[in-house]
Subunit: 107 residues, 2 copies
Amino acid sequence: MGSLTQMEKQLKAISDANRLKLLACLKRGEVCVCDLVDVLQVSQPAVSQQLRKLKEAGIILERKKGTWKHYRLNEKQSPYIQAVLDALEPITLQQCGSTCTSNEGDN
Amino acid sequence: MGSLTQMEKQLKAISDANRLKLLACLKRGEVCVCDLVDVLQVSQPAVSQQLRKLKEAGIILERKKGTWKHYRLNEKQSPYIQAVLDALEPITLQQCGSTCTSNEGDN
DNA sequence: CGATTATATAAGTGAATAATTATATATGAG
DNA sequence: CTCATATATAATTATTCACTTATATAATCG
């Protein structure tokens, strides 16, 4: 019962084209919000709210880095969420120049 | 892109507690509508509309049997839909007596 | 045919959703 | 401390959604 409720919450969180796109962006790794805003054709607050929904469902995690916030896929997913992630075509995004060095984690 | 739209449609179709319950009922096999109405605490038209949504997403199939209509899970599912079905606890339902012999298919 | 039963469709309504604009918070630069 | 930038939250609004009641369709029974 509780598991059905939890399942519903997670499924609701991903059953939206824009949020699926956000997840597709995160398949390649951690991304900062400013880069995500460019991908979707919506405002920054809209992206922020959708990220929150994904976060509250436990599907993504956040990491604060100075003024920026980086989001990434949670490495622990329910099997059915993982199956959706596996089916998503990754989206490669151009980063917002040097301002937000999303890939500093590689160092 | 089209695949993302299709994915969204299917995920929307299952991201609802009542529709998840319907799917859980169908895990054991074909069931007629009258039995499903008893499981959910909603009206018959509500059940009918939810079944239609699942059918339009290609997740369930219908079979007409006289006055009754029997629904069952589509045997061909996208992997991510199948993963959800696998995670669902089956719901066993008492059939509506002899009026609707859901299990005549066993003969 | 007319009545009954099973299911579907139509119309209407309240709640949830996802966007927008405006504003708040928080960090870093000078 | 003040300003600029990145992100979040609040308030509002239009749309979507899932229910309800009423009605239509379709098959069976007498």
